[in-house]
Each structure stands twice: as structure tokens, then as C-alpha cells.
């Protein structure tokens, strides 16, 4: 019987440690990159979702309202909240004269929401929609000091995540005209 020599054992252990460290480091870096990119996608997706939803509501809106009550809570239009009045639509997508739906966009802490209150004849569905949980800033500005006279709403959204000390942000800005003003 001839065993391993000390040199052989040390070399094997050394090589094993080296490989473990190399692969471990590779895995950790890979995981960091994966997490970072996942975060980038998440903040971009959150900002895009807010802009898309804002487009979907502001474009067909007829007026910005100074305030409106949604389920007992009154929301007021200001720099961080916008309340909209939209002509209701039927199942075929045609507007219903004299009937209106109401929408509000606002942010609570880091979560952006869109509330929708619809007319009974409207095909839109009432409810609360959570748009993003990574909101750093959400602002609305108007082309008229009297918001009820506004024809254009500028939406600026910034989403942010901190992953392992790295700050990841995304910012989108869009000016949207009220087509039904």
C-alpha cells in the first residue's frame, strides 16, 4: 500500500480550494449581475406601466377635475395626484353621451395606484389597480393654472430600487393631450 504523499494532498486541496473559490466568486458575481438586471427591468417595467396606464386614461379624458370622491375618499388634483373625467364607453367601444367614468392616479409611499369609478352603463371596470411598488417620484403638471381648464397633462415618473447597495433608477416623462376636452 502506498498512500498519498503530503505534497500530493496539499496540491489536491489547493487545487480544490482554488476551483471552489473561482466558481463561488463566479456564482456570486453572476448572481449580483442577475439581481441588478432584474432590478433594472423591474424599475423600467414599473415606470412603463404607470405611463401606459396614464396614457390609457388621460388620452380619452374630457376634463381634469379639481377633486372627486372615490368610495368615500376625496382626491384632489395637484402635483402628485390627477383626477380625470372620461366619457363612459359601451361594449363596442363607443362613448356614451352624458355618462362619465372617473379615474385618479396617486402615489402612497412608494406604491402608485390608479382608482377607477365607472358609470353603471360603462364597460370599464371599477376598482383599484396597483401600478408599481418602486415609485420614487410621481408628478403631474398642467398647461393651465386652473386645472379644470387643462388640455395637456405632463406625467413624470421615477422608479428606484436599491440592490446590494447599488441604486437603480428609471425615469419616464410624457405629455398627454386630453383628446375629449
Amino acid at each position: 500500500m502506498k498512500g498519498f504523499t503530503l505534497i500530493e494532498t496539499i496540491i489536491v486541496i489547493g487545487l480544490t480550494v482554488f476551483i471552489m473559490v473561482a466558481l463561488g466568486n463566479f456564482y456570486v458575481n453572476f448572481n449580483t449581475v442577475l439581481g441588478s438586471n432584474g432590478g433594472r427591468m423591474s424599475v423600467a417595467s414599473g415606470a412603463g406601466k404607470i405611463i401606459n396606464e396614464a396614457e390609457a386614461m388621460i388620452l380619452p379624458a374630457s376634463h381634469v377635475l379639481s377633486s372627486h370622491e372615490f368610495s368615500g375618499t376625496t382626491y384632489e388634483t395637484n402635483g402628485n395626484t390627477v383626477v380625470l373625467e372620461l366619457p363612459s364607453i359601451n361594449n363596442s367601444g363607443t362613448s356614451i353621451e352624458g355618462k362619465y367614468d372617473y379615474a385618479v392616479f396617486f402615489v402612497n409611499d412608494t406604491t402608485a395606484y390608479r382608482l377607477l369609478q365607472t358609470d353603471p352603463e360603462s364597460s370599464r371596470i371599477s376598482g383599484t389597480k396597483q401600478l408599481s411598488t418602486e415609485v420614487y417620484a410621481l408628478s403631474f403638471s398642467y398647461d393651465n393654472a386652473d386645472v379644470t381648464q387643462a388640455r395637456k397633462v405632463a406625467v413624470d415618473v421615477q422608479t428606484r430600487l436599491v440592490i446590494k447597495g447599488e441604486i437603480i433608477t428609471n425615469q419616464l416623462h410624457e405629455q398627454i393631450y386630453l383628446r375629449n376636452y
Partner: protein, 606 residues
């Protein structure tokens, strides 16, 4: 042997370890790639959706453009534009409203990454021109004789002189004519080529400048007859409520003496004098100051601009603010708006003969005669008057004298038609359409237009003739089929002569009529040599004649759809038929004639 066996068992450990790490590596890589692919797809879809929406909105613009060139446009399929394509479907909802559905596809409709469908209604401007009366005369009133007959209601801002067995089958109303000269006026300089701070007052564009008011004083205690403003509009604002109110400490008060309307359809995007519809004619006190308040809605893109000057009117001033709220001085202060106030110039008359058979009014119990004085008349309904003689009934004095009604077209309306005609170019020299006929329009003709020889002139757009228009010798003028249910306009600056079996017709679709309009003031202006602004004899078909500055003479059994003129003269057995379809009429071009998006109908269908 055992040593070799141990060695071979130990071999492969590194391979195993490598496989484990390789597995981990592949799993993480797969997840990473999956995330990237999902993100990329999501981003591509978001961008493509935005592009598809932009394409659909481009399709809406395309539909409006096409409709304004051809009202029979029904849509188009797979029109390529930029990075995608769009499909337009136009559905007719009624004569003046169409629904446009446009779907935008990116990159194409066969394999779209994204598609968006937008639906809107487009309509001929809702502020269509109203012809409330089939036969309406201005201050010159009617001069009817020779057994002439009008089938329908008539309205005059002056006398209806009818003395020799004339028949009016509907109601007849004669409002007191205005004085020939305005009692109060501010109109210097007479034209405003472009606005400056001291030549224009903008109102109805914000809550602080929503309404405008102008103070004035009259010279005699005579009833108001007519108020005019020099005004233009921006966008498509709604009608303006006009109030005459008292003065309270230098501002408009709350005692309303009269409320009337300034119709948005009479106001164009160019300055012009527009008459206020007065429902009553209050008698004002010459010793008092009054305010005329223009009360409008507030909208930053749909508002009005009044012509103005600095301290041009000695008996008052303009103020800006809000009716029922506060008023401020204009900026700069001391501006006066352009306006004219006419007082009643006399009392109106229906009839004029000393026999009850001078004029027959009405065929139903609801067909009334209404004027200050009625003389020599047989009326089926009620005689609303203050004095009567040689009538079959006594006066019913329960109604005050009727108020003058504004003419349906403003100078601005006619100017818009002229501009529309200019888009098709200019023909210099006289234009003759003979036996072979012709197709023409839109076009300005610097010269005269003659249609004769039994040929047909097919009108494909607005015509503006700077000289005379003569349709004779069996000549025909008809609107092209592309007009659909809309009306078309021929504008002449000179006199119009229609005789010899001339005939007019619409597009063939019910409700479509040609409007023959002249701005001529004949026979009153120089150079007329006794000619009328419009002279008709013989059947002329389905045409509406407008001569708001001059006299229309109808003779020889003419049959028309409607006529509006400063004065209307009928004799020789002329007959006129009223058409209810003209009460509110749509033109395919010119004022109120463009297809535009109807706010409130924009929806994103998917």
C-alpha cells in the same frame, strides 16, 4: 492491482465537481437569458403599442382630410406609414355625423407585434347655419303684388306690402325696421388687419377674462332694434349670451333689461360685423348708462376676439371679468369695443290696401299675421297688432311688436366661402358653360359666369364669381354627386339673372340644394342701372337665393326652395315653396362645412 483500483475510483472527482458547477452555471444563465428575452419582448411590445396608437391617430387625421375632399369617403385598408400600417373604416351615423374607426398595426396587419384601435366621431361643424324662415326679408321688407303666392311662413325686418290679392299660406310677421343710421357706434378704424394690445379684446379664454361688457348711452327713448359687434372667434366656442343691464357704480349691474344670443355660427375666424338676436326691444332711458354684456363660456382654445380702440367711444368704456362676478378695466385701460346700437326706425305694416282682399294670410287657424299695423288683410289665424283697418278681424293687442331677426349669413360666413373657392385656383376672364356643359369648382372666376344653351354646369366645389351670374336658355346648374346630402354655394359679387327655363338642382341626395348668394346691393348702389341684385323669372328649381344687401325680384311663376334678401319683390304670379329642410343646413365646405373631430367621442377600443 489494489492500488490501481483505488486510483481509478478516485479519478473523475474533478469532472463531477465541474458538472455540478456547470449545471449551476447553465441554470443561472438560462434564467438570466429568459429574463432578458421577456424584458426585451415586453419593451418591444410597449414601444410597438405606442407606435400603433400614433398610427391610428394619423389615420384619424387622414380620414378627416379625405372627408373634407370627398364626403363619400368610406375608408382605406393597410395604408403603410412609417414603421407600420393603418386601416380606416368610416360609418355614416347621420347626414352630419360619421364614425371613424382606425386600427394601427406595427409592423403590419398580417403579423402585428401590436395593434391599437381608436374610434371617434367626426361631424360637419355643429354650428350649422340656420335658415329659420323660408322667406326672410331685411329692412326693405316685402313688396308683393300681381297675385303672387308664398307657400310657407314669411318674416321681414320691415314692412310686408301686399296689396293685390297676394296669398301667404303660412304666418306673416313684420318686425319694426331699424333706423338707417346707428344711434351709437364705435368702429374706427373700420378694419383691423392684425391684433395688438390696443386693437383687440380677447374674452372667453379664461375665468378672469370670461366675459366682456361695454357701457353706452342712447340719444332718444326709442326701442332697441339691433346690436352688432365686430368680432371673430378662435376654435369653436359656443354661443354667447348677450345681456343689456343697468349700471351700478361704474360696473354692469344685475337688472337685466334684455337677454339675447350671439350665434357662434355667424362668427368666423376673421373679423366681421355680427348681429345679435334680440328677443325683445326694450326702450332705454337716454339719461341712464347701460351695459351690454357678452357672457360666454371659458376655454383656453375656444374663445372670441372683439375689435377695439383706445377711448374711441365717448359715452362708455369696456370692462373685462365675469357676469355675476367682478369686473376689471381692460389692459390697457380705456379700451372700447367695436359695436353698433340701432334703435327702431318706425313701425311695421302688413298689407296696405283699403280692401280686405289685399292680402290673404294663412290657411290654418295657427297661421297668424303679426305686425304693428295690419291694413287690408284677411287672416285665417289671429291678427297680432296694435292697429288695424280693412281687416276681417280686430287686433289682438296681447303681443308687443315682433323683434327683428338677424339674417342667416354674416359677412364672415361669405368670406369663408370665398376663401374656400380660392383653394381651387382662379380663372381670369368670363366663363361660359354652353350646350356641352362643364364641371367646375372650387374656383374663383374673375369675370362673369354664363350658363346657357341647355347645358349643365356641374359644381364640384364652391364657386366665387366676381362679376355677374346669368343662367338662361335652358341652362342648368347642379351639384356633383360628391356633395351627398350637403349643400353647395355659388357666391357672386355682381347681380344674378336667372330666366328662360333655367334650372338648379342638388346632388341627387335628399336635402342637398345649391345656394346662390350675391353680395350685390343693387339696385341701391351705383352702377346697377336699375338692375336687381337677383332677378328671377321662370321656374328655377331647388335653389336657395340669398341677397342680404340687395333686392330679389321674383316674377313669372318662379319656384324656389328659399329666399333671403334685404328686400323681396314678387309679381307676375310668382310662387315660392318653403322647404323645412333648410331650417338648419349643412354645407360641404365654407362656414360650418368641414368635417372635424367631435370632442367626447374619442375612445381607445383595444
Amino acid at each position: 492491482m489494489n492500488q490501481h483500483r483505488h486510483r481509478s475510483r478516485a479519478q473523475g472527482q474533478i469532472l463531477l465537481l465541474s458538472l455540478v458547477f456547470l449545471g449551476i452555471f447553465l441554470a443561472v444563465s438560462t434564467a438570466f437569458l429568459g429574463l432578458i428575452v421577456t424584458y426585451t419582448k415586453s419593451e418591444r411590445h410597449i414601444v410597438a403599442s405606442a407606435q400603433a396608437r400614433a398610427l391610428a391617430e394619423a389615420g384619424i387625421d387622414e380620414a378627416a382630410y379625405q372627408l373634407n375632399h370627398d364626403a363619400s369617403y368610406t375608408g382605406e385598408a393597410n395604408t403603410e406609414l412609417a414603421l407600420g400600417a393603418f386601416t380606416v373604416i368610416v360609418t355614416t351615423l347621420n347626414a352630419s355625423t360619421k364614425q371613424v374607426t382606425v386600427t394601427g398595426f406595427v409592423p403590419n396587419s398580417v403579423h402585428p407585434i401590436a395593434s391599437k384601435t381608436i374610434r371617434v366621431n367626426v361631424s360637419i361643424d355643429a354650428s350649422t347655419i340656420s335658415f329659420r324662415y323660408g322667406v326672410q326679408a331685411g329692412a326693405g321688407g316685402f313688396v308683393l303684388s300681381g297675385g303672387s303666392r308664398i307657400n310657407g311662413n314669411v318674416y321681414a325686418n320691415g314692412n310686408i306690402q301686399a296689396t293685390t290679392g297676394v296669398r301667404i299660406t303660412g304666418s306673416a310677421t313684420a318686425a319694426n325696421p331699424p333706423a338707417l343710421v346707428a344711434d351709437q357706434v364705435n368702429e374706427t378704424p373700420s378694419a383691423i388687419p392684425s391684433c395688438t394690445g390696443s386693437t383687440c379684446i380677447t374674452f372667453a379664454n379664461s375665468t378672469a377674462t370670461q366675459d366682456i361688457s361695454q357701457s353706452f348711452k342712447i340719444t332718444t327713448a326709442t326701442g332697441l332694434n339691433n346690436i352688432q359687434f365686430y368680432i371673430k372667434k378662435v376654435g369653436t366656442p359656443s354661443d354667447v349670451i348677450v345681456r343689456i343691464v343697468n349700471d351700478t357704480a361704474g360696473n354692469p349691474g344685475t337688472d337685466v333689461l334684455m337677454t339675447g344670443n350671439l350665434l357662434a355660427s355667424s362668427i368666423t375666424t376673421n373679423f366681421g360685423w355680427v348681429t345679435v338676436t334680440l328677443p325683445s326691444t326694450p326702450v332705454l332711458d337716454p339719461a341712464q348708462t347701460y351695459w351690454v354684456v357678452l357672457d360666454a363660456d371659458s376655454n383656453s382654445t375656444k374663445y372670441y376676439v372683439l375689435g377695439a380702440n383706445e377711448n374711441g367711444y365717448a359715452n362708455g368704456t369696456a370692462k373685462i371679468g365675469r357676469y355675476g362676478g367682478s369686473w376689471s378695466a381692460t389692459t390697457p385701460s380705456g379700451l372700447d369695443s367695436y359695436f353698433r346700437v340701432y334703435l327702431g326706425g318706425g313701425t311695421s305694416l302688413i298689407g296696405g290696401n283699403t280692401y280686405t282682399t289685399g292680402v290673404y294670410v294663412g290657411t290654418e287657424p295657427t297661421d297668424d299675421a303679426w305686425a304693428h299695423t295690419i291694413k287690408g288683410a284677411t287672416v285665417t289665424g289671429t291678427l297680432y297688432c296694435q292697429s288695424s283697418s280693412y281687416t276681417n278681424k280686430a287686433c289682438n293687442t296681447s303681443r308687443a311688436d315682433p323683434t327683428p331677426q338677424p339674417m342667416p349669413l354674416s359677412d364672415g360666413n361669405i368670406e369663408e366661402w370665398k376663401n374656400d373657392a380660392l383653394t381651387g385656383g382662379t380663372i381670369t376672364g368670363n366663363y361660359h358653360s354652353g350646350w356641352a356643359g362643364a364641371t367646375l369648382g372650387p374656383k374663383k372666376i374673375v369675370g362673369n359666369l354664363l350658363v346657357d344653351g341647355g347645358g349643365t354646369l356641374t359644381v364640384t366645389g364652391t364657386l366665387w364669381i366676381t362679376g355677374t351670374v346669368t343662367v338662361t336658355g335652358g341652362g342648368k346648374i347642379k351639384l356633383a354627386a360628391s356633395y351627398g346630402a350637403n349643400d353647395g354655394a355659388l357666391i357672386a359679387d355682381g347681380p344674378v339673372i336667372v330666366n328662360g327655363g333655367a334650372n338648379f338642382s342638388g346632388s341627387g341626395t335628399d336635402g342637398s340644394y345649391p345656394f346662390l348668394i350675391t353680395t350685390s346691393a343693387c339696385p341701391a348702389e351705383s352702377g346697377c342701372n336699375g338692375a336687381d341684385a337677383v332677378s328671377l323669372s321662370g321656374g328655377v328649381g331647388t335653389v336657395a337665393i340669398i341677397a342680404q344687401n340687395g333686392n330679389v325680384h321674383i316674377g313669372g311663376g318662379s319656384a324656389l326652395k328659399a329666399v333671403t334678401a334685404k328686400q323681396i319683390t314678387m309679381d307676375g304670379g310668382a310662387e315660392l315653396f318653403y322647404d323645412d329642410g333648410l331650417i338648419s343646413t349643412n354645407f360641404s365646405s365654407g362656414p360650418g362645412g368641414s368635417w372635424t373631430f367631435v370632442p367626447g367621442t374619442y375612445t381607445i377600443a383595444q
